[in-house]
């Protein structure tokens, strides 16, 4: 059982929870995730560890409401407990030791690039982050990311920062390089767009994938993704991969597998939010 120690509504549909998980808080590294189970009969939901406080033994999870299970999670109150939190899972992010890195986060992806920017910053790598959302209200982790370096903000409707998609300021930034590496986390279409922009100059680009998962240990094969024409299990081989090799179309398509259940089932269904 893991207790919720703090809760913050970041925007409509996005909740930030701090959860007691001392061992995970102690050893988690950037890019790793946990699988949470709200109750014994709940779905197993993968969530990136957005931050941790090893002294207090807490980890931070950011949950976007995309279905019944994530809604239930987001509705948890301080003092309530989760049935299980397993982790830290997946490979830690590959971080350079020097130079400059770009972190691009779309939507809740901003919470996923947060630990990466944090890890880079701790190593002395110069970080520039670009985050975007539809409107100002949906923009998250702005203050947090600003701590680690330059931050460029954009919104689709121009209600905050520049108007447009994260790829617009990215173009300018890429030209201003050199960049050791670019990290991109967000909707598949956004990650694909970033990878296309970095491809001509062959800038190393790392993306974090969010397929449906169950066990998170490589046992079920449900999280398989196609990378460079080879089948990989995102939970154990990833969740981060070379952005230039990922088959985004396949990822996007497989994410829709249980959409009809989500619509039809009064109880709930598999949603795909691993941020």
């Amino acid at each position: 059982m893991n207790k919720v120690v703090s809760r913050q509504q970041l925007s409509r549909g996005i909740t930030r929870l701090e959860i007691q998980a001392p061992r995970i808080a102690e050893i988690r590294q950037p890019g790793q995730f946990v699988i949470v189970c709200l109750a014994e009969d709940s779905e197993r939901i993968p969530l990136t560890i957005a931050d941790s406080d090893p002294q207090r033994g807490n980890i931070t999870l950011v949950i976007q409401n995309v279905g019944h299970s994530t809604q239930e999670l987001g509705n948890l109150r301080v003092g309530e407990s989760l049935f299980a939190v397993t982790g830290p899972l997946g490979h830690p992010t590959e971080l350079p030791d020097q130079g400059c890195a770009l972190c691009v986060g779309g939507g809740v992806g901003a919470a996923v690039v947060h630990p990466i920017a944090q890890g880079l910053h701790r190593r002395g790598v110069k970080v520039t982050s670009i985050i975007g959302a539809r409107t100002r209200e949906q923009l998250i982790f702005e203050t947090e990311l600003r701590r680690f370096g330059d931050l460029i903000v954009c919104t689709d409707d121009g209600s905050h920062g520049c108007t447009g998609l994260v790829t617009d300021p990215l173009r300018t930034q890429l030209a201003a390089g050199p960049w050791a590496v670019v990290y991109a986390v967000g909707p598949a279409a956004m990650m694909q767009a970033v990878a296309e922009l970095t491809r001509p100059a062959q800038i190393r680009t790392i993306v974090s994938l969010n397929p449906v998962m169950i066990d998170g240990t490589g046992m079920c094969g449900g999280c398989r993704v196609s990378v460079g024409g080879v089948t990989k299990f995102a939970c154990v081989d990833g969740p981060e991969f070379d952005g230039h090799l990922v088959d985004y179309h396949d990822l996007l398509d497989r994410l829709t597998t249980y959409h009809t259940f989500e619509k039809s089932g009064p109880g709930g269904a598999k949603d795909h939010c691993k941020l």
């Binding site: 779905e43 066990d215 497989r254």
Partner: protein, 477 residues
């Protein structure tokens, strides 16, 4: 001859008593539910069946049992209606008789060696094992917690049959045992793989409760290699037993495997058994319940998947297997049960490609007919394609049940563990790995094998760990 007259016959007059039939749920009714198919022998039938045993001087059945249960002794006690004693004899050698009585391939093990089987039918040893175990669960108190006399601690990785067996044996010898399990529920394949209709989950739960009562600590939701490393466990425990199974599903690498509607059997069965997808939307995890489901493979896993598909409402649930019926590796009882439930067998059929529509949902399986060719060097006949025999088998769900390999998650984080070419952990004759004090057993050592072999490994490892730790100075407290 009816049963009453049979039972009045002198007990040692063997030949006229036929093998007792296992009562089962009606085939038409059970194809719609997940309740157990076999209902268990009555006490009367069990006594009759046990009485068929010839009590051979040199019992060959025992040699056919991987854990060498004293079969004639326990059968003799059943025949005399001394069931508590029978249960004791059984449990001495077999820690999970209610499980193995249901899932062991008896027809290839103990029963294959029964002398009665030469002329007629072998004694139903599996049926009786199950009967005695179920009876004891109802009538005998669980063992009390052993005093942790040794003051020594053993960690076990994985709560499948190998881990559970080792835990029981070690707790009995007075060690403080902690089992680490990656999933939120203990039991390994017994919980997430083998379906309710073959192995009710309450039986697995009962065994786990039994171990808890004996003092074993279960720590679920801990992934060794991630949450803790083997090195960290070594610092905290006096010995370690690794039994993390062979959970890494194989795919065929044919086109179409990423279409929607394609599952590895592990995922399909885990959704149902562990996550209760068959009760969706009352449970929270869904599964695609196809109208026409093709399961590739013919082992126990394939049978479990195809029979689950039928129970989820598939109008047609099919096995697709490239060899002939004789080579099907599943337990014979599962094949018979499957056929009675209306499962169709596409034998001598090899899949070439999974076909999908423009929205990438599965619509069919492109196959090729095969014929059995001449035996190869190993003496095993190889299936060969029949030229020009390609056809499309319409289906909307495809389940791959072609085997599993060693899961590298743990071993990759402990490079000191010596592995073979397949990634399985290498152990010596005592079950010890290349790391002193670290033992391994079950599927992670053997590759996908059986419940009873995993249990045998657990038992051997417990014995070796005991010897290993006795040879060391006592713990400082």
């Amino acid at each position: 001859m009816n049963q009453l007259t049979q039972s009045r016959m002198p007990s040692r007059q063997h030949l006229p008593i036929p093998r007792q039939k296992m009562p089962e749920q009606d085939a038409a009714a059970r194809a719609d539910n997940f309740n157990e198919v076999n209902l268990g022998l009555t006490e009367e039938a069990a006594r009759l069946e046990a009485g068929r045993c010839l009590q051979c001087k040199k019992p060959r059945c025992v040699g056919g049992c991987p854990v060498a249960v004293n079969i004639p002794k326990f059968l003799g006690l059943v025949a005399e209606n001394r069931l508590a004693e029978a249960a004791h004899v059984l449990r001495c050698d077999n820690a999970l008789p209610a499980v193995t009585g249901r899932v062991c391939p008896q027809e290839k093990q103990c029963e294959a060696h029964c002398v009665l089987g030469r002329k007629g039918s072998a004694v139903g040893i599996g049926y009786l094992e199950r009967f005695v175990a179920d009876w004891a669960d109802q009538h005998c108190p669980p063992p009390a917690a052993a005093i942790s006399a040794q003051g020594k601690k053993v960690a076990i990785v994985g709560s499948g049959p190998a881990g559970l067996t080792a835990a029981g044996e070690l707790a009995r010898r007075g060690y403080a045992v902690t089992i680490y399990e990656a999933l939120h529920k203990a039991g390994g394949v017994l919980s997430y793989g083998i379906p309710e209709f073959r192995l009710p989950k309450k039986i697995v739960a009962r065994e786990i409760e039994r171990l808890q009562a004996a003092g074993v600590t279960f720590r679920c939701n801990v992934v060794i290699g991630r949450t803790y490393t083997i090195q960290e466990l070594q610092a905290q425990f006096d010995a370690i037993f690794i039994a993390n199974g062979a959970g890494l599903p194989a795919f065929m690498n044919i086109p179409g495997e990423s279409l929607k509607g394609v599952y590895a059997a592990n995922e399909y069965l885990t959704r149902i058994n562990l996550m209760n997808a068959h009760r969706f939307p009352d449970s929270r995890t869904p599964v695609l319940n196809g109208r026409r489901v093709a399961v590739i493979g013919a082992g126990n896993v394939a049978m479990d998947a195809v029979r689950s598909a039928r129970r989820l409402g598939a109008a047609e649930a099919m096995i697709v297997y490239r060899r002939s019926r004789n080579e099907m590796p599943a337990r014979i009882e599962e094949i018979n049960h499957a056929e009675a439930e209306g499962i169709t067998l596409q034998l001598l059929t090899a899949p070439l490609e999974i076909i999908g529509d423009d929205r990438r949902w599965v619509t069919g399986l492109k196959c090729q007919r095969m014929q059995m060719g001449a035996p190869d060097a190993s003496g095993r006949a190889r299936p060969e394609p029949v030229p020009g025999s390609e056809f499309i088998l319409p289906c909307d769900v495809v389940v791959m049940a072609i085997g599993t390999r060693a899961n590298p998650l743990l071993t990759a984080t402990c490079p000191e563990l010596k592995l073979n070419a397949h990634g399985n952990i290498i152990v010596d004759e005592n079950g010890m790995t290349s790391l002193a004090g670290v033992f391994a057993g079950g599927d992670i050592v053997r590759g996908a094998a059986t419940v009873i072999l995993a249990m045998g490994d657990g038992k051997r490892a417990a014995k070796s760990i005991d010897q290993h730790l006795r040879a060391q100075p006592p713990a400082a407290n």
